[in-house]
C-alpha cells in the first residue's frame, strides 16, 4: 500500500570504501544548489538505521570491507545499493592491487552501477533516480551480504530474531 511512497522519500547513506575522494566530492556537489538532490526528497542521513539507499564509492579495501558489510546489514529492508565510480564497479585502476579486491559486488549485492572516473553529478543523479525505480519493486525480505561472514545467521546485528529463524527454517525445507 505504501510502496509508491518509497521512491518519493529515499534517504541516503554514503560510505567511502577506499576511494580517491573524486566521487565523494561529486556526491557533495550534487547535494549543493546547482544540482540539488533534495528536490527528489533525498536527505543525507548518515545513520544506517534510517536510510534506504547506500552509496558506495571506492574499491573495497581489506580494512573497510567489514564496515561495509556491517553498514549494509544495519540498514532495514527495503534497501538498494548504488556503486559509484568505475573502481567501485570493477576495481578500475586499483584492480589486482594487493590490498583491494575487484569491486564492491563481491561483498554486497549491487543494484545500480554508475560508471565514470570521477562520476559527474549528472551521472550520480541519474543512477540514484534509477535506484528509486528498483526500490519501489523490492520486497521486505532479508537480503544477505555475501561471502565475508559466510552465512549471517547467528549475527547479533539482526535484532528481529524470530523473523530470521523463520527464514532459516523456510530455507531448510
Amino acid at each position: 500500500m505504501f510502496e509508491k511512497f518509497r521512491k518519493k522519500s529515499p534517504w541516503i547513506l554514503h560510505y567511502n570504501a577506499g576511494s580517491c575522494n573524486g566521487c565523494d566530492i561529486e556526491i557533495l556537489a550534487s547535494l549543493a544548489p546547482k544540482y540539488d538532490l533534495e528536490r527528489f526528497g533525498i536527505i543525507n542521513t548518515g545513520n544506517p538505521k534510517q536510510s534506504d539507499i547506500l552509496l558506495v564509492t571506492g574499491p573495497v579495501t581489506l580494512k573497510s570491507r567489514e564496515r561495509l558489510v556491517e553498514l549494509y546489514s544495519q540498514m532495514p529492508e527495503p534497501k538498494v545499493v548504488v556503486a559509484i565510480g568505475v573502481c567501485t564497479c570493477t576495481g578500475g585502476v586499483f584492480r589486482k592491487m594487493y590490498n583491494v579486491k575487484a569491486g564492491v559486488d563481491r561483498y554486497v549485492p549491487v543494484d545500480v552501477y554508475v560508471p565514470g572516473c570521477a562520476s559527474s553529478p549528472d551521472q550520480i543523479i541519474d543512477g540514484v533516480v534509477q535506484a528509486l525505480a528498483i526500490l519501489e519493486e523490492k520486497s521486505k525480505d532479508i537480503e544477505k551480504p555475501k561471502r565475508l561472514f559466510g552465512e549471517l545467521t547467528n549475527n547479533s546485528i539482526f535484532t528481529n530474531r524470530r523473523e530470521m529463524a523463520k527464514k532459516i527454517k523456510h530455507e531448510k525445507n
Partner: protein, 361 residues
C-alpha cells in the same frame, strides 16, 4: 571519579567524507585522549607503481591517490621523472601547469571552507560556497575536459593546449568569483555564531607546529613560514606575484583566513599567468629509461607533497615513495584535539582539511 565516555568517530560518519577512525575519550564532552586509525584507504599504489605500470603510465595512476589534489600528485611525479631522464619542459607548459595547480588550490580550499561551515552547523553558508565553487569546476572542465580527475599533465609537458576563447572565459568567471569570495570572507569574519565556534578553538602554537612538523595552511595559520612555492625555483612563482600568507592565531579562524586569502591571491596569480603565457610547444618528446634517484616537492592545497623515485634503467621503476601533506599533519592534529570540547570536533577536523586517501595511499 568522572565518568569517561568513549566516542567512536568514524569510519562512517555524517561529517566525514572519508573513512578515518578517531576514538575520543571524553569526560563531560571534554576530550582527554585521542587515537587515530588511518589505514582504511590503503590500496597499495606504491607497489603497483613498481610492479604493474610502466613509468610513462604512472602519472594517471598516482592521480588516483587522491581526487582533490590529483593534479599535484601527477605533477610532482612528473617533475621527479623529468629530473632523472633530463627533459627540459618548455616555459609554456610550465605556465599551464601552474595555472592548473592554482585552480586546483582554489577549488580544494573552497570545498574545505564549505565543509568547515557545514560542520559548524551553518548549512546556508555551505550551500553558498558550494554554489560559487561550481564556477571553478566549470573552468576546469573547459580547460581539461573533466571536472575532477583531469589527467592534464604528462611527462614532458601537458596534454591539452589553451585557446583564446577559454582565456576570455576564465577571466570573466574569475571576475565574477572575486566579489563572491569577498562576501564569504566577510561572513567568516563577522558572523556572531561562527566567531563563537571558531575563535580560539583548535589552536596550535608556532612552537608546537614546528615540533610536530605541521604543513601547509595548518602551519601557516600558526605563523610558521613553510611553503614550497617560496622554497623552489622550478616554477617562476615570484614573477607572477606570489606572496606568502601568514596568520598568527593558529585556530580554526586563522586557518579559514589563510585559505580565504590564498584563494584571493591565487585568483590574482591566475590572472597574471593568463596575461603572460609565452609561446611554445606544450609537449616535448621523451626518450630513455630512468636511471638514478631523484626527489621532487610541490605545494599542494594541504601542504607539501614529496616524491622519491629510484630507477634502474628499466621501464619499471625500482621504488616510488609518496609522502603526502596529511600524513605529516596527523601528529599535529592528534595534539590539537586534546583538551577540546567534543562539540567542536567536526569543525576542527574539517578545518584541517584531512585527506585520508592521500595518507594511506
Amino acid at each position: 571519579m568522572k565518568k569517561t565516555i568513549n566516542i567512536p568517530y568514524g569510519s562512517q560518519h555524517i561529517a566525514l567524507l572519508e573513512p578515518v577512525r578517531f576514538q575520543f575519550e571524553t569526560q563531560n564532552e571534554k576530550i582527554v585522549g585521542v587515537k587515530a586509525d588511518i589505514g582504511y584507504v590503503h590500496r597499495g599504489i606504491e607497489k603497483a607503481c613498481t610492479s604493474t605500470f610502466e613509468y610513462k603510465q604512472i602519472p594517471s595512476v598516482v592521480a588516483r591517490v587522491c581526487g582533490l589534489c590529483a593534479i599535484t600528485h601527477s605533477l610532482t611525479y612528473v617533475m621527479a621523472v623529468e629530473q632523472i631522464i633530463d627533459v627540459n619542459v618548455s616555459e609554456k607548459a610550465k605556465y599551464l601547469r601552474m595555472l592548473m595547480v592554482e585552480l586546483d588550490r582554489i577549488h580544494s580550499h573552497m570545498l574545505c571552507l564549505s565543509h568547515t561551515a557545514e560542520n559548524a552547523g551553518y548549512e546556508a553558508l555551505f550551500m553558498q560556497i558550494m554554489a560559487d565553487r561550481e564556477i571553478i569546476m566549470d573552468i576546469q572542465e573547459a580547460i581539461s575536459g573533466n571536472r575532477v580527475q583531469f589527467d592534464f599533465v604528462c611527462i614532458g609537458g601537458v596534454n591539452r593546449d589553451i585557446t583564446d576563447e577559454i582565456v576570455k572565459f576564465i577571466i570573466k568567471s574569475l571576475n565574477e568569483l572575486q566579489p563572491k569570495i569577498e562576501d564569504i570572507f566577510d561572513m567568516f569574519e563577522n558572523n556572531w555564531s561562527l566567531s563563537l565556534k571558531y575563535k580560539g578553538i583548535g589552536a596550535i602554537t608556532k612552537e608546537n607546529a614546528s615540533i610536530y612538523n605541521a604543513l601547509g595552511p595548518l602551519a601557516r595559520a600558526a605563523g610558521l613560514e613553510t611553503d614550497v612555492r617560496a622554497e623552489s625555483d622550478y616554477y617562476p612563482y615570484e614573477k607572477i606575484g606570489y606572496k606568502m600568507i601568514l596568520e598568527q592565531t593558529g585556530d580554526i579562524y586563522g586557518r579559514n583566513r589563510v585559505r580565504l586569502r590564498e584563494i584571493l591571491s591565487s585568483i590574482d596569480m591566475i590572472k597574471n599567468i593568463l596575461c603572460d603565457i609565452p609561446e611554445g610547444n606544450i609537449i616535448e618528446k621523451v626518450k630513455g629509461k630512468p636511471n638514478g634517484e631523484s626527489v621532487a616537492r610541490l605545494e599542494a592545497p594541504r601542504g607539501e607533497i614529496f616524491y622519491y623515485l629510484k630507477g634502474v634503467k628499466q621501464a619499471m621503476l625500482d621504488r616510488v615513495r609518496t609522502k603526502t601533506p596529511t600524513f605529516s599533519g596527523i601528529p599535529a592534529m592528534v595534539e590539537i584535539f586534546k583538551g577540546q570540547e567534543y562539540g567542536d570536533v567536526p569543525a576542527i577536523l574539517a578545518s584541517f582539511d584531512p585527506c585520508m586517501s592521500c595518507t594511506a595511499k
